[in-house]
Amino acid sequence: MQIVLSSSSGVPIYEQIKSQVRSAIYGGDLGVGEQLPSLRQLAADLRVSLITVTRAYNDLVAERVVINEHGRGFVVVAVDPESARAALGARLDSAITELAAAARGARISRTDLNILLDEKWSKV
């Protein structure tokens, strides 16, 4: 899981961390039972304060997305299929919207777009 933060998006940092962790879990990047990075290591890697990361993780615990296991740290719990599907659907939706806009902007035809898509499909 790679978290990338934006300081200018207007979304508070702890919210960005939360949503990216959720995406990683629903998307399968983080499996059930897997550990999240330690609070301090994540704070150092993302260049944010410990309290910001702590708040994000604590919120995720309140949402029952992760639990704080004694000795192991923050661990992913079983994913609810409904919310996972909904979250993935939303992610696909915004990706397709962006793709359409980018293709239009570059004046690429649907045919060429399909060719590009075929190329990438096998590589992902």
């Binding site: 290591q41 704070a43 150092a44 260049r47 944010v48 304060s49 410990l50 309290i51």
Partner: protein, 289 residues
């Protein structure tokens, strides 16, 4: 592991016309505390009492739960960076290991050299020839070389170029990965705090104006501006009140919001807003009296 790296109760000291305190605050182990305030607000004096460099007139400072400032064993666990170098300019950088190492229980020559190399400071260099930025980096290398648990820094980034500032803060982040480590640093550059400090202490004219998290600061204070006729109570609640033409602006504590009418704009206050308007407070009071 200790619970609190620094605990200050009722700290007070008078120096000429300046009255510091009484101050009460605590830095729990494992957190970073930023100390902000205008020049002359008492930041440096407070730090000096933590280091045992000056004695308070009253009150108590406890480090690492029960230890006294100024004790040799306490200082063994503290790394210090001040806004000026405190080594002889003629000394060579490399000589610091043999001069200072024997005083510490854990001076690590390899770690010292590691930081020097990382900062690009020549071992053969004479300390007096270092630039301001290199001097701060040398101070930090010295401070970290003996594996302290608490870092105390007084204005470490002032006068540094942006690249050096980021380098320095990154090293501080690495230091904080260990949960037994704590940092207390004073600054008047508030961007240093934004993504490093867990706790912030705002000090003005020798008194603590706010102690808590950055989010809490934004909740506790607000900026107001507008054109309404202010009631006496409303005007008194504004810190650093400025009136130009028919408009007014200034800083208030959030619980004073009800004193203002619907036409007045109430915005989030940034840390800079808080410091600037607290400092302006003294001037405003003079004008109105």
């Amino acid at each position: 592991m200790t619970d609190s790296a620094v605990k200050v109760t009722g700290l007070a000291r008078t120096q000429g016309a300046f009255h510091l305190g009484p101050l009460d605050f605590e830095l729990p182990t494992g957190l970073v505390m930023g100390f902000v305030g205008p020049n002359g607000s008492g930041k440096t004096t407070t730090i000096k009492t933590l280091l045992g460099m000056v004695r308070p007139d009253s009150g108590h400072v406890q480090l690492f739960d029960e230890m006294e400032p100024g004790d040799a064993s306490t200082k063994d666990r503290i790394g210090v960076v001040l806004d000026h170098l405190f080594v002889t300019p003629e000394w060579k950088v490399e000589s610091l290991t043999r001069r200072l190492g024997p005083f510490f229980s854990s001076w690590d020559p390899a770690a010292f050299h590691g930081y020097l190399d990382r900062f690009g400071i020549g071992r053969e260099a004479q300390i007096g020839t270092l630039s301001r930025g290199e001097g701060v980096k040398l101070s930090l290398s010295m401070a970290l070389a003996h594996h302290p648990e608490l870092l105390i820094l007084d204005e470490p980034t002032s006068g540094l170029d942006p690249v050096s500032r980021v380098d320095l803060v990154d090293i501080l982040r690495e230091f904080m990965v260990d949960p037994k480590h704590s940092i207390l640093f004073s600054t008047h550059i508030t961007t240093d705090l934004d993504n490093l400090a867990d706790l912030i202490l705002v000090i003005d004219d020798g008194r603590i104006e706010y102690a808590g998290t950055l989010d809490g600061l934004r909740e506790d204070f607000a900026m107001v501006h507008g054109t309404e006729q202010l009631s006496r109570a409303a005007a008194d609640s504004v810190m650093g009140l400025r009136r130009t033409g028919g408009r007014f602006d200034g800083l208030i504590r959030s619980d004073a919001t009800p004193l203002f009418g619907p036409s007045t704009v109430i915005d989030d206050a940034t840390t800079d807003d808080v410091i600037v308007h607290l400092a302006r407070r003294g001037a405003t009071q003079q004008e109105s009296s």
